[in-house]
Symmetry: C2
Subunit: 282 residues, 2 copies
Amino acid sequence: MTIILNGKELALKITDDIKISTAEYSDKPKLAVISAGENPASLIYIKNKQKKASELGFESFVINLPNNVSEDNLLENIFILNEDKNINAILVQLPLPEHINKQRVLDAIEPVKDVDGFTSFNFGRLALGYKPYAYPCTPKGILRLLTEYNINLEGKNVTVIGRSNIVGKPLSLMLQMKNATVTLAHSKTQNLKEHCLNSDIIISAAGVENLIRADFVRDNTVLVDVAINRTSSGLKGDVDFINVSPKCSYITPVPGGVGPMTIAMLMENTLELFKLQKSLFL
Amino acid sequence: MTIILNGKELALKITDDIKISTAEYSDKPKLAVISAGENPASLIYIKNKQKKASELGFESFVINLPNNVSEDNLLENIFILNEDKNINAILVQLPLPEHINKQRVLDAIEPVKDVDGFTSFNFGRLALGYKPYAYPCTPKGILRLLTEYNINLEGKNVTVIGRSNIVGKPLSLMLQMKNATVTLAHSKTQNLKEHCLNSDIIISAAGVENLIRADFVRDNTVLVDVAINRTSSGLKGDVDFINVSPKCSYITPVPGGVGPMTIAMLMENTLELFKLQKSLFL
């Protein structure tokens, strides 16, 4: 029997708890989002984040800079947010325009306000096995979802597909800390099928529709599909769900799997930074 | 035919070049080593580093603090070295006494003087795929040795055994950047033999004598043995060399493989930081 990893349901449970916890404070957690340009997907993501923040009793606002903004101007905006004691969390919406040095901008964020965990400092903490101020939201959400369903990671063979700084790389580091044996596959991997067939758990964040087919998966595999591919027939993950899911012990749907967990973790990180800053600055 | 990856020879070539390059400057690269306690292995390592530094025309000195040194005292020593413009490279000799928060001490080092690349900032840069001020010496030395023998990494399956912050973790991140497909195995890995048999390249940093036996290795494997195990019959690596080496296309000896490369990379990092600081501070 295949069990659906219901991210939507778990995310609701988590955000309900966040809402209750937030109501206990007289002031509100405050999230600042900075973006540049008019990437349509980014605008939707930002709108969803603001909507969720508002539902939970957070304050949030967006600084949308023009596509031709200078790097110095972007940095200046971040420095102001760093100094502002009313701002708890700063999120730079990616992608940034090509002419901007992305990591230089991310590294300008004060680590204690780095809600995505993408500064070199926080990412280094994570990679070294220490707790960063915030864990990247998508990997954190995936681990939470697996934990919710009591899926044990210790000693398990896990193949992570996709080596992005947002998902694949931090996820593989976090899985290693849970004592999983992780193989990080990517576009240059030559025998992906073989790696998948040797895995207890497959986590695909490649962004390639139908990458994971039934012959890639042995019986009782746990399958987490992180991708959101926009196709002519709607949103699809990397997994050929209809043919693959019967072989799985657990599988995430797309949508309704990892996506809602990511935004829930963003909210959780915001609340955690808010609480932490209270203890540091009061 | 099995080719021996001669780290001793390559390290000599590299340090000869460093010596020539250093002689071109009127002032000398200066390395500061901080240690605490009287760990016998540490004392030998430090002595070797100082000897090599002196041979290459570097200045170096050691601050040896007592085993019961306070963390604040250790940090204070680092802050003084950070401020001293004559010091180019700071190395904290590990292990530190149990009562010291190791990562807090390492993170006190100014990243531009962090000759081992162990600060959260530099390690984060490495993990995110950006150039740190310095790469950790052992992984850097291993990659240099493989490059010297024209061993291609792209698309290759590599199993790295051991997930330390000094070797296994940074090495796996650096191999990923070279487009290898990396599996990071460790003490909780359940089927190490199978992982090894699926690998083009095995890099063992487990510290377990005879861990890698002939039946773990398929023909034409590239084998890098990072371990130095002190046994009753002298220094041994993780590999059963006599029985494994005939199956390998390339293999490192122990000693004379990775060890000399590590110290050569420490010297190279010191020289590079010296040059960089000239360009920044003059």
